[in-house]
Structures are given as C-alpha cells and as structure tokens.
C-alpha cells in the first residue's frame, strides 16, 4: 500500500535518484534496488511499464550486441580476415569465410577484397564475455559501401531515426531520393545527389536533437515536405497506386 512512484513517466533522472519506494515496483534496465527503494543506476529517461520501472539511456558509446547491423571501417588486415572499427570500445573481426563465398587462394592479397579505410555494412554474429566481436557480411543488404557519405549520430537515437518499422527513414528516402543505411552503432550511410544528401543529413540531425519529443514523425513529415518540396505519402496512399 505504501508503494509509490517518485517520478513521472518520461522524466529525466540522474544516477542515485529515487524512482520508487516499496516492493510493488520491479527494477528494469538501468535501475537497482537498495532496501525498499528503487534507484536510478545511470542517467536516462524513465519508462514505466506496469510494475516495471526501466531507464532508456540517452548518451554513451555503442555497446556491441548480437544480431545488430553495424557499419564498420577496416582498420587492419589480418591473416584470415579484417579488423573493423565499429565506433565502440571494442573492434570487430570479419573473418574471410564470413566475407565472401568466392574461392580465395592461399596467401593472396586480402586488400584486393577490402582495403584499409573501406566501409562495410555488417551484422554481428557473436559477442563474447571478453567483448570479442565477430561480424559477417553474409546476409541481405550486407555489403561494401561505395560512394556516398557516412555521418555519426548518437547510437541511442538510432531507433528514432529508423522509426516504427522504418517509417522515419523511408520518409527521408522518399523526400530526398537518397539511399540510406542506418547502423545500430550510430553510423549512417547516405548516397544521392549532393544537395539532397545535405537535406537528408539535416533531417537526421533534427531527429537526433528532438529524439524524445512526442509526435516526432508528424513534425518530420511537415519539415521534410517544406525543405524538399516533395509530397510524402503514407504507406496506405502508396498502395492505392498514386505514384
């Protein structure tokens, strides 16, 4: 009965702040229990889901996770693969057999396939307890990124840039005609006409800035229509044949 929330949903809390008192609430991600109190274990935004109180982190470096699609840059060529920088504390290894299905002769020059500085869209296949990260390039959409540009955004804002079922990113694609690939590690690859690329970059920066506002999709739609002059259609309208 004495259980009570000390904060509101979507509040910003700092480490050590009391979130709730009483055993009626359960600690979720980024929170911990001390006696009958529920405290914040990092800086973040509160999300109350029924009895579970969790924190959504707003800042910090990318932590590699299984199955994440990340954009990596080749920083080293190894005996049987490549080492990639994925914008985290740990680098990832792309093994030769996960990179290509072609036959590679023993002792051949691996830089002919991927050279230092190449950017690759990859998927994480394994993360060990010691944070050794393995990635693969076998899968749909996994490839070397040629041309275009890569920008870095806060990795915690990536879900907002992608949007629900990719709604946000497809809106930007529609408005600018750019090809866009978003890596979970906060790297975004864009390719299109130069002036359109700039519009897309500005849009992404705007999403990053306003990531935690409600109704962001609608506002981005208005913004994109204004700056690009393209009428953005919803999924439903597209299917009705208005091309």
């Amino acid at each position: 009965m004495s259980d009570s929330l000390k904060i509101k949903d979507r509040d910003i809390v700092v480490p050590g702040e009391t979130l709730a008192v009483g055993m009626g609430y359960l600690p979720g991600r980024g929170t911990y229990r001390d006696g009958d109190k529920l405290l914040a274990g990092m800086l973040g935004m509160v999300s109350v889901e029924g009895k579970v109180v969790k924190l959504i982190s707003l800042s910090g470096k990318y932590i590699p996770k299984f199955n994440d699609r990340v954009i990596g840059t080749v920083i080293d060529v190894l005996m049987t693969g490549w080492r990639l920088d994925i914008g985290s504390a740990y680098s990832a290894v792309l093994n030769l057999k996960d990179a290509t299905s072609e036959f590679i002769e023993r002792g051949s020059d691996l830089t002919k396939i991927f050279d230092l500085g190449d950017n690759l869209m990859t998927q994480i296949t394994n993360v060990t307890s010691q944070k050794l990260v393995d990635v693969t390039m076998k899968g749909p959409g996994l490839r070397k990124l040629r041309g275009g540009r890569i920008i870095e955004v806060n990795p915690h804002k990536v879900p907002r840039i992608i949007g629900k079922e990719g709604s946000m990113v497809s809106m930007i694609k529609q408005a600018t005609g750019c090809n866009i690939l978003v890596g979970q590690n906060g790297r975004v690859w864009l390719e299109g006409e130069a002036d359109k690329e700039v519009i897309a970059v500005n849009a992404i920066r705007k999403i990053e800035e306003e990531a935690h506002h409600a109704g962001l999709t609608d506002r981005m739609k208005v913004y994109l229509e204004k700056v690009s002059g393209v009428k953005i259609m919803d999924k439903g309208e597209q299917q009705n044949g208005v091309q």
């Binding site: 480490p15 009391t18 274990g41 800086l43 935004m45 707003l58 470096k61 504390a89 944070k131």
Partner: protein
C-alpha cells in the same frame, strides 16, 4: 587577531556562488563545467575505449584513469609549470579513487574510461571542484553509476569551522585546517577524506556534518545541470 568575519563576507556555512553546466565539450563522450567562486573545473570523459599499453588491461572490468591538470595561467601569481607534477599525480590518483566506488565498469572488460580535469582558473578547492565536475561528466557519458559524487572542502580558520575555503583563508597565518570531503549524496557515504592542518575530534565531527549538508546542496546543482542538458524543449 581572531578570525571573526570571512574575508569575502560570506556566512560560515555558505559556499561561494556555484555554476554548473553539462555538455561543454562537444567532441568528448561526456563533459561538464563546475565553477565555485573563482575556481573553475572542466571535466571531459572519453570512453569506454581501447586501452593501451595492453598490460594495463583488466579482463574483469574496465579501468578508470583520471588526469588532473592546473593550467599554467590558473594560479595565484606564480605561473604553474605545465605538465605533470608530484602534486598533480597525487590528486589524479585521489580523484580516481573517490569516483571509482560509484562506477560499475564490469560491462567494459579490457577498456578504459579516461577523465581529464582541467583547471583554467583556481582559488582553492580544486580537487573538490574537479571531482564534482567529473561526476557530472561521467553521468553525461552514460556510464553505469550507483550515485553521483559531490565534494566540498571544509576548513578551520582560527577557532571557526567553515565551508569552502578560498586561497586567502587557506593561507591564513594562524591555526588552520583544510579537509576536502567527497560524498555520495544519496547514500551519504564518504569517498574522499583528506586533511591538512590540525583539528580537534569535536570540530572534525562538526565539519563532517557541515560537509554532508553542503554536499546535498551541491548535488541539487549537479542534478539540475544534468537535467538541463537533456530536458525536452
């Protein structure tokens, strides 16, 4: 002559005016500025990132590395020689140990979190300002922390126990003591306690009580500064 009124006219338990700001260094992973009177501390956090040389790596958890630096033009009169000194080495170590108890770096084996504390302007209380700024910067960097850390120097000048000494008070000609205290404001635990000078047991107890009170005031300022950066417009 007894010390009956503070040089700058403050109350015995009053700190100098405080300003705090988070996110002052855009290229850092987390950063903060903490200003107390004429003492200004800037803290920048980089990482968790790759740690070299490799023999420093700890496969159980990430390590914390602090670097305290007074800028050449920061002091009172004399130019501070740039680069590390015996004093800055000690303070770097002391600050590191005062921040470590609230951090959980077990998520980042073999990695390092670097904290750089720069002091462009100093008027005593630099280690406390540094710790306070660094705690905000670490929270800004999104690290897993049990609590923040707030710090303040409590001192004794003549027979008076007082809060947040200035350089003039530290240099007072007579009986004096200088006690930097760092605390976790929510759980009330002490993470740093040093002392320079002489003080009685009774006075020390009084000083710690005062430190607790002032630290919770500083905590409110830290909290406000952190929320200011992330609030929804």
């Amino acid at each position: 002559m007894a010390y009956s009124k503070r040089f700058d006219g403050r109350d015995w338990e009053e700190t100098r005016p405080i300003e705090a700001k988070v996110g002052v260094i855009p290229r850092a992973d987390g950063s903060a500025m903490f200003k107390i009177g004429n003492t200004v501390a800037l803290a920048a956090v980089y990482g968790p990132r790759d740690l070299h040389p490799k023999f420093l790596q700890n496969p159980q958890r990430g390590i914390l590395r602090c670097n305290y630096n007074m800028m050449p033009f920061s002091g009172h009169g004399e130019r501070v020689r740039p680069g590390g000194s015996r004093r800055s080495r000690e303070l770097s170590m002391v600050i590191e140990k005062s921040l470590l108890p609230v951090l959980d770096l077990s998520e980042y084996p073999n990695a390092v979190v670097d904290v750089f504390i720069e002091l462009p302007q100093t008027d005593a209380g630099t280690r406390c300002a540094g710790i306070t700024a660094a705690a905000m910067a670490l929270a800004d960097a999104g690290l897993i922390m049990k609590d923040l850390v707030s710090a303040v120097a409590i001192g004794k000048v003549d027979d008076k126990v007082l809060v947040d000494l200035t350089y003039d008070e530290e240099a007072y000609d007579g009986p004096k003591a200088d006690i930097p205290v760092a605390m976790t404001p929510n759980s009330g635990k002490i993470t740093l306690l040093q002392m320079d000078g002489e003080i009685t047991k009774k006075e020390l107890k009084k000083a710690l009580e005062m430190a607790k009170k002032v630290c919770s005031q500083i905590y409110e300022i830290q909290k406000k500064a952190l929320k200011e950066k992330f609030k929804l417009q």
